[in-house]
Symmetry: C2
Subunit: 458 residues, 2 copies
């Protein structure tokens, strides 16, 4: 590896200047370790990706695919001596088929750019992670990204039809299909989704689209406690309502966004629930009113179906900006646990208890309708004692999520930060199956080594 002939990497755009390599070393998981890559390659075609993978196979060099670097688990972090494949130059929407309702894109297309291109054709690509203005479809596929509309419309995996990829033998192949249904062989496309670049490198993605949807109604509720808000979410589910979004934002997040963007957000309440309903017509109006009643009965101090689109958009914008706003206050450690919907109030109660016991500030945003919580663990930069306590908070939240029947990661991925948690969640036998799949599809062990599954001696 140390002797890999960098100057013979078969690609036109190769970066080896140490100063320029810096911005490719890690993603936004500030607490995860990272190394110094051998080189960064900015491929311009699938064939170039294939050639670089073959080079890496020949010289036993790790290869790490990278989108926009907005990941929150360290999945895109460099390991020493790796080649980073950065897809910023493969950012084209190649085709939108309005009849079959799919789009074919290069991995570096930014999520919002795809959504805008689809909207021009009267179509909609649902998965909408909060990072959608920056994150790429390639990264979204690698992590099986979720977002706000998952509660009704599912996650990235539900939209991936076909992938072009370079496999562990350096072959450029297509897995999946473009038809509405298909069961010819194993679901290798589904297996690639969420595998965080550990089983191959994706070079092209075909995603299913939906027709544009009607305008959503927004229902906002202000609560005194996260526990009350959690009860409101459970009530919505129990009422058989499937909202198109159901988000929770606590006071800390609202205040941080306001301090940054001066949006004039009310921070009178401790928690805000933001629901959306996109059922068309009078049925949708009735559903929105039923959701408002659920909020009210669960103890909302104020609950309203918004008639002011601008105000509603501002509230959702605040939700999206919670992460970057809090990041301004110090190093963030981001959780991503997902628990059964009905366990949401109890999980929020336990987070509060853990936070108080360790005297560590925890702000909460959540895709509440999915039971997917993002406790944001905040410490002051340089306070090492607080950082150690924060790590305890992080670990205990994972343990409580598992204890409640949940998972350590709902949508951010395992990367580096959740590897220990995943091991606890899955157990030895299922981990063994993971290692078997990893070895089968990446026999040389070059794809993003040490992420998701630990490197095992052969």
């Amino acid at each position: 590896m140390a002797n890999a002939p960098v100057d013979r990497i078969p690609a036109a755009k190769v970066i080896t200047d140490p100063a320029a390599l810096g911005r490719y070393q890690h993603d936004e998981a500030e607490w995860a370790p990272y190394g110094m890559p051998l080189a960064v390659v900015r491929p311009r075609s699938a064939e170039e990706v294939r050639d670089v993978v073959r080079f890496c196979l020949a010289h036993e060099v790790p290869v790490i695919a990278r989108g926009a670097g907005t990941g929150l688990s360290g999945g895109a972090n460099a390991v020493d001596g790796a080649v980073i494949l950065s897809f910023e130059d493969m950012n084209q929407v190649l085709r939108i088929d309005t009849d079959e309702r799919y789009a074919v894109v290069q991995p570096g297309v930014v999520n919002d750019d795809l959504r805008a291109a689809c909207a021009q054709q009267g179509l909609w690509y649902p998965p909408d992670p909060a990072s959608s203005p920056w994150s790429t479809i390639g990264g979204n596929v690698a992590t099986n990204a979720g977002g706000m509309c998952c509660v009704k419309y599912g996650v990235t995996r539900d939209y991936v039809l076909e992938l072009e990829m370079v496999n562990g033998r350096g072959e450029l192949v297509r897995v999946g299909r473009r038809t509405a249904k298909g069961v010819a062989g194993y679901d290798l496309a589904g297996l690639m989704v969420g595998s965080e670049g550990t089983l191959g490198v994706i070079t092209e993605i075909t995603v299913r689209l939906r027709p544009s949807r009607p305008l959503e109604r927004t229902v906002a509720g202000y609560f005194d406690s996260v526990v009350d808000a959690g009860a409101a979410v459970s009530a919505v589910t129990a009422a058989g309502i499937i909202p198109s979004a159901l988000e929770l934002v606590d006071r800390h997040c609202l205040a941080a966004v306001d301090a940054w963007k001066n949006m004039g957000l009310s921070a009178d309440a401790n928690v805000v629930l933001l629901g959306r309903i996109d059922t068309p017509g009078a049925e949708g109006d009735a559903e929105a009113e039923r959701m408002r009643e659920c909020f009210e009965k669960a103890g909302a101090g104020w609950a309203v179906v918004s008639t002011d689109q601008q105000e509603a958009d501002a509230l959702f914008q605040a939700r999206r900006l919670a992460y970057p706003a809090l990041e301004r206050l110090g190093p963030l450690l981001t959780e991503d646990v997902c628990v059964p919907r009905m366990a949401l109030p109890e999980m929020l109660r336990r987070i509060e208890e853990i936070s108080q016991r360790h005297d560590i500030h925890v702000a909460n945003v959540a895709h509440a309708g999915d039971g997917n919580l993002h406790p944001l663990i905040i410490t002051k930069a340089g306070d090492e004692a607080a950082k150690a306590r924060a790590q305890l908070v992080f670990d205990e939240i994972l343990d409580e999520a598992i204890a409640l029947g949940g998972t350590v990661t709902g949508e951010h991925g395992v990367g580096l930060l959740k590897m220990a948690g995943m091991d606890k969640e899955l157990g030895e036998a299922v981990l063994g199956m993971h290692h078997a799949v990893k070895s089968a599809l990446d026999p040389a062990g070059i794809f993003n080594p040490g992420k998701v599954v630990a490197v095992r001696q052969k």
Copy 2:
């Protein structure tokens, strides 16, 4: 293998009487080969399944899981000397969680029985293969079964949350999760779905449920030609309508059902299209009318939004009975190609051409809204020359489906009948990935050997 001590199979219910073994030798794919099993085991618990798999591992005996035997590709067919695990005694709905909206079932639960149990709780399990009165959830998962409502609600894979299974090391494990979202590790549950028992044996299934849905409106259209009907389907898609069902039944099928059940079906037209809309309220009424207009503009001689629920149900019942009705007329060879929706008229045209050229009778039913066609190739019992021509028809239809960008199997699975077609569709490199996954998860090669992927010498 020949020396496997049958009398030491670690299960209470073991059948070895050759006469009794007969009904476990094959599924409904009448043309596929099958062998004589060593024994049939009717397990009563997951632990018993695990013990039988360990016995088979120790003695290198093939093990084949079997639901109701309604498969149409030979996936459940016995190979000589195999142990058949028949799940007829593991047929309990273990739990329906109305709050989290999931059901936990044993593999032998019949699809319609689960649907009925869910309905009692105001919930709905969407996947509805035409075999739903007989086929089991275990078999549905193994083949990733589809059905009529897929066009709006997806296939079995979209509903499987968690599986308990016995893996290739004889370990009883859980893969997947019960939360709404989760990305902790590879999607092994998704990989199991549709793998036709070649990667392990499923012992328990947790499926996602939806709230009960509103009554559907039925739109029926009568057409002179399958090509016109295909054009109507394309028009519905192009209009942005997502029907809750969109089925095509040709005159041959209607006549066969009528001859059997005497339902008084009109067979004036050559092709009937049956659409359903379950969008609630006035919006749904408007959509149904728009669908009717699409039918009319595409050349329907008669197109109507049905106000007679009984008549509508009879038409859909006829669709469901098409396969068994035609089966009465002679050995059936069933196709299951899926093509891009817009290619449906062209695919139907090519099927007609192939049928005429080989002088073989082909009846058509189709999940038209998905582009998933089931040409039913009919010959007289004992007519060997016709049978040879029918095989040519079968192969040519597969070739044309691939040529139109489709797949050789939309929902029935590969089993034995589609192995050659799958090989053509996927190509050598992707087949290599299949073999790698198979060897990784079934290193001893005991799970349903020779199905989906060919047995390769090690």
